[in-house]
């Protein structure tokens, strides 16, 4: 006689409970310490009188009742029941979630997983319906809820692994939707995965409908993972050389498993192996390998660091692009160049600033070509450009920073350019007499000032402002002086950003340029006004990118329709009316992006790699999954083979023997009460 939950037989020990309860007569009087009673209500325990055992018949009845109860919970299965006989009152809605993320490539995980799913399909009884869904970072139902095993097997057979990471939440949302929509009396969720810890992103909303049986099938096995991978590649400028810039490529090589000595790492640039280095890898650790400096190529060149192939070859290479950091072109307009602003922008190469300086009268509209930001350093209107050209420059996405210093006479600004000012500019406030004003409030949540929020950032509180201009505006104020006047404002004109500073940037009206924070502040303001983004050298798989954002040249940023070629050769259209606006990177390697209709154009290259989290092979306890999906009060089944679990469940469900055993237990307890009452009338003994 097989039992569905044989562990409940341990409950037979409870046969001794009646004796203990009555003989020991120990009432628990020690209170249970608890951190706080703020969430607890007073619920006095019912006081019931109990009687001492005086009659062996009572013991027998109670013991039998306990045995019947234990057997009921153990859920015995009698005889053989055909799976096709009769009308099935216990039909099931089964949802199988199959993990196909990158980590499932390890060893025998994938064959084990598909075999487990096939087992589930084989156990489907008439009336049962099953949905097969695959998940990695996203989840897709591959079949509708169906009883057609041919459809299910075809979907399973067509399923392939991906290079993507793992996320449980989307998969659970699919399962929840399917199970909640079902009217089947039984709902079963089978999750076939290696249960990577990094994939755990479940919240309370992932709870399955009440009564759902959750069957996790862990295909990771007990044998430890043995894998080495290039986890990250860093490219930095060689600071030790004069002359043409050179780059140093270094890689972090991770190792899961036993220590390995003399592992060869290769640096390939443009398809050629430039250098090989050997590295010793500690057990379950990582080591860095640094290659010799290489010249910075003028155009982006794909590079990768590779290791010798192992059992999981997909993470043995890490792709990056080598290229000179693009420069942010700035047009600085001032009657005379101050000693601080240009040097502050010229320092650094992340990004590199390319500064052209002109006078307000000498500058022409041609100087705007290729610029990302215009800085009116002393506030004088650039008469050489003209209001229309400057306004069009900003409307098309250019940035404008204006310092309302001594030359910023609003009467000299043409009316056509008034939109480039945040509001009416009033008279100069002179506070030299009271030791100068200070900045009273900074919106450090704003991206232009966010760098000042970090504990290591500089502080602008020490800057003293002797003079500044009052700006008549109520919106877009990023910083205010201590008297409430606007110090820094932002407003949009078309697609461009305009930042206006109410004082000077050359030190004549304040000592701001002599503050340590001046340098990062100005660089950040210029980057923000230019809508500048640092192009990463590579992206993680699963990232969505907009081609216009990764194009550095202005003409390319205006392209609306692109054709992307994946490393496998697959082509995808991006942008336009009938295609997604962004390209989702799903393959490791170098992707090529060309403007639509220009197959011979020089491509924009995008490097993609396996997401770092997916290379963390540590797993979580599957008991957490069942607890999270079914709630704390639900009974979480173990990780049994789904097929065996299902067949026993089917048989037991048809027999429902537990019901009769419960009835027997109830009758025995009634009999016990009668006997106890009769015994009590003879010799009652109350506790």
């Amino acid at each position: 006689m097989p039992l569905l939950t044989p562990l409940f037989l341990l409950g037979l020990a409870a046969v001794a409970v009646p004796l203990l309860v009555h003989l020991v007569q120990k009432e628990r009087r020690d209170p249970t310490a608890f951190p706080s009673l703020m969430f607890l209500d007073r619920t006095p325990a019912p006081i019931a009188s109990r009687r001492h055992l005086r009659d062996p018949l009572l013991l027998l009845l109670r013991a039998l009742a306990v045995i019947a109860l234990v057997l009921a919970f153990a859920r015995p299965v009698f005889g053989r029941i055909g799976v096709t006989g009769g009308v099935d009152q216990r039909r099931r809605e089964v949802v199988v979630l199959l993990d196909r993320s990158f980590s499932m490539r390890i060893g025998e995980r994938w064959p084990r997983a598909t075999s487990s799913v096939d087992s589930v399909i084989r156990t489907l009884a008439p009336g049962d319906r099953m949905t097969l869904a695959a998940f990695d970072r996203r989840a897709n139902a591959l079949t509708p809820a169906t009883a057609d095993v041919t459809v299910l097997r075809a979907a399973l057979g067509a399923l392939t692994l991906t290079d993507e990471g793992t996320r449980l939440a989307p998969a659970m949302a699919v399962a929840q939707q399917r199970l909640a929509a079902s009217d089947a009396p039984r709902r079963v969720l089978v999750v076939v995965s290696d249960f990577q810890r990094s994939g755990w992103d479940l919240t309370n909303e992932a709870r399955m409908p009440a009564g759902t049986e959750v069957v996790p099938v862990d295909v990771a096995g007990l044998s430890p993972v043995s894998d080495r991978a290039v986890r990250a590649v860093d490219v930095r400028r060689d600071r030790n050389v004069e002359g043409p810039p050179r780059m140093i490529v270094s890689a972090r090589v991770g190792n899961s498993g036993a220590a390995q000595r003399g592992v060869t790492a290769r640096l390939e640039i443009g398809g050629r192996v430039l250098e090989e280095r050997t590295v010793d890898l500690p057990a379950d650790g990582s080591a860095a390998v640094t290659f010799s400096a290489v010249p910075v190529p003028p155009d982006p060149v794909p590079a990768r660091v590779t290791l010798g192939a192992d059992a999981l070859p997909g993470d043995d290479a890490h792709h990056v692009l080598l290229q000179q950091a693009p420069a942010l072109a700035v047009l600085m307009i001032a009657a005379r160049e101050g000693p601080y602003l240009s040097p502050a922008l010229r320092i650094g190469d992340a990004p590199r600033f390319e500064i052209t300086t002109r006078t307000p009268a000498g500058v022409t509209a041609a100087d705007l070509v290729g610029r990302r930001v215009v800085i009116l350093a002393d506030g004088a209107f650039p008469t050489g450009i003209g209001a229309t050209a400057l306004r069009r420059f900003v409307e098309e996405g250019g940035g404008l920073i204006t310092a309302l210093a001594d030359q910023a006479n609003p009467r000299t600004w043409p009316s056509a350019a008034s939109v480039l000012l945040p509001g009416a500019i009033r008279s100069v406030t002179d506070r030299a007499g009271d030791r100068g004003g200070v900045l009273g409030a900074l919106d450090q949540r704003h991206p232009a000032l966010a760098l000042l929020a970090g504990p290591r950032a500089g502080d602008l509180a020490a800057a003293r402002f002797d003079r500044y201009r009052a700006i008549d505006t109520t919106s877009g104020v990023l910083a205010r002086f201590d008297d409430g006047a606007a110090a820094l404002t932002e407003h949009a004109v078309g697609r461009g950003r305009v930042l206006t500073f109410a004082s000077s940037l050359d030190g004549s009206w304040n000592d701001l340029p002599r503050q340590p924070a001046f340098l990062p502040l100005m660089q950040q303001l210029a980057q923000y006004a230019a809508t500048w983004r640092d192009a990463p050298r590579s992206y993680g798989i699963g990232t969505s990118i907009r081609p216009g954002d990764v194009a550095s040249a202005a003409p390319m940023r205006a392209v609306t329709r692109w054709v992307a070629t994946a490393p496998s050769g697959t082509r995808t259209t991006v942008g336009g009316d009938d295609a997604p606006a962004a390209l989702e990177l799903t393959e490791a390697g170098v992707h090529e992006l060309r403007p639509g209709g220009s197959p011979g154009a020089r491509p924009i290259l995008v490097a993609a790699n396996i997401a770092a989290a997916e290379l963390d092979f540590a797993a979580f306890d599957v008991a957490r999954l069942t607890a999270a999906l079914t709630g704390p009060a639900a009974t979480a089944p173990g990780t049994e083979s789904p097929r065996e679990e299902e067949s026993l469940t089917d048989r037991e469900a048809r027999q429902s023997s537990w019901w009769y055993l419960l009835l027997a237990a109830a009758l025995l307890l009634v009999a016990e009460s009668v006997v106890a009452w009769r015994a009590g009338t003879r010799a009652p003994v109350l506790e």
Binding site: P31, A33, F39, L40, T43, A232, G285, P455, R456
Partner: protein, 291 residues
């Protein structure tokens, strides 16, 4: 690393070092994570250096660019605010919340000191209990205070946090470790003096698994660890209400602290410390890869 096992070691310094070094050894990080050890000098700027470390005052005097990395790297104050109220003495499994909080605090402090931050510790209950102001050399003192910290008194955040905020001269990072048995709005109000002063505040709510699952079966009297109040409770009858109230409390806490722009995370004492450290660093964006 099982927290209960680590707690039995009893040597906080050893445990903290073990967790941090072991964690870093297995970290999948960029080679750029961490900084050079060349901190104690001015050196000429070179392309590629972080421009935030340029000594702009020296430039103003000499028109030459130098890096002042030493000052920049030791400028951050990192302070752990540790709740030592009596409720932290609770532990349904192998480790109490206070023991876990000590390990966590020691690990975070050790990690921050490894980053050359100035480290400090404040223990509090209804009021301040002990204060170790942030300083580069205070790590041994902090570990000593942690080792002898005991749970006592009735916890309340408002008074001690206000005192802490008033005593700070410069901005820093504060990590509050507490079980937060106060209404979420009160917690947000108590943190306001710190957040309002521009400090970077991180809240780690520490709970035992039993507080989240309420696994009790026997009807018995429950005693409040802080107030000593007693309440007869039949767990089967109140479990559902308790879990709902606790879930609502946690959700309200998350919402309120998120609105206050406070970095909040919930940790239970069964979680391995390296996992908590990983999550903490991930949230603090210290684990940027080189991609």
């Amino acid at each position: 690393m099982d927290p209960a096992t680590l707690a039995r070691i009893g040597n906080l310094e050893l445990v903290a070092r073990w967790v941090v070094e072991g964690f870093l050894a297995g970290l999948h990080r960029s080679p750029q994570l961490g900084v050079s050890t060349d901190f104690a000098e001015h050196r000429p700027y070179a392309p590629g250096d972080d421009i935030r470390h340029v000594d702009w005052r020296v430039f103003g005097r000499t028109e030459r660019t130098y890096l002042k990395t030493y000052e920049a790297e030791t400028n951050t104050s990192f302070t752990v605010l540790l709740d030592v109220s009596a409720s932290m003495q609770y532990g349904h499994g192998g480790i109490t919340k206070l023991a876990y909080a000590k390990l966590l605090a020691a690990t975070l402090v050790w990690f921050s000191r490894r980053q050359r931050d100035r480290v400090g510790l404040v223990t509090f209950s209804g009021d301040l209990v002990e204060i170790v102001p942030p300083a580069a050399r205070h790590l041994p003192h902090i570990l000593h205070v942690l080792e002898r910290a005991t749970a006592r008194g009735t916890g309340s955040l408002a008074r001690p946090l206000l005192k802490v905020a008033q005593s700070q001269q410069r901005r820093g990072i504060f990590v509050l470790v507490s079980d937060l048995y106060e209404p979420a709005a009160d917690v947000a109000r108590a943190l306001a003096p710190l957040t309002g002063a521009g400090h970077d505040v991180i809240v780690i709510q520490l709970l035992d698994a039993a507080e989240q699952t309420f696994p009790f079966e026997d009807a018995t009297t429950f005693r409040d660890l802080e107030s000593g109040a007693r309440l007869p409770v039949s767990p089967a009858k109140v479990r559902e209400r308790y879990l709902a109230a606790m879930a609502a409390h946690l959700a309200a806490m998350r919402t309120a602290l998120s609105r206050s722009r406070v970095d909040y995370s919930l940790v239970d004492t069964s979680q391995p410390l390296d996992r908590v450290l990983f999550d903490y660093l991930l949230r603090r964006e210290f684990l940027r890869t080189a991609v």
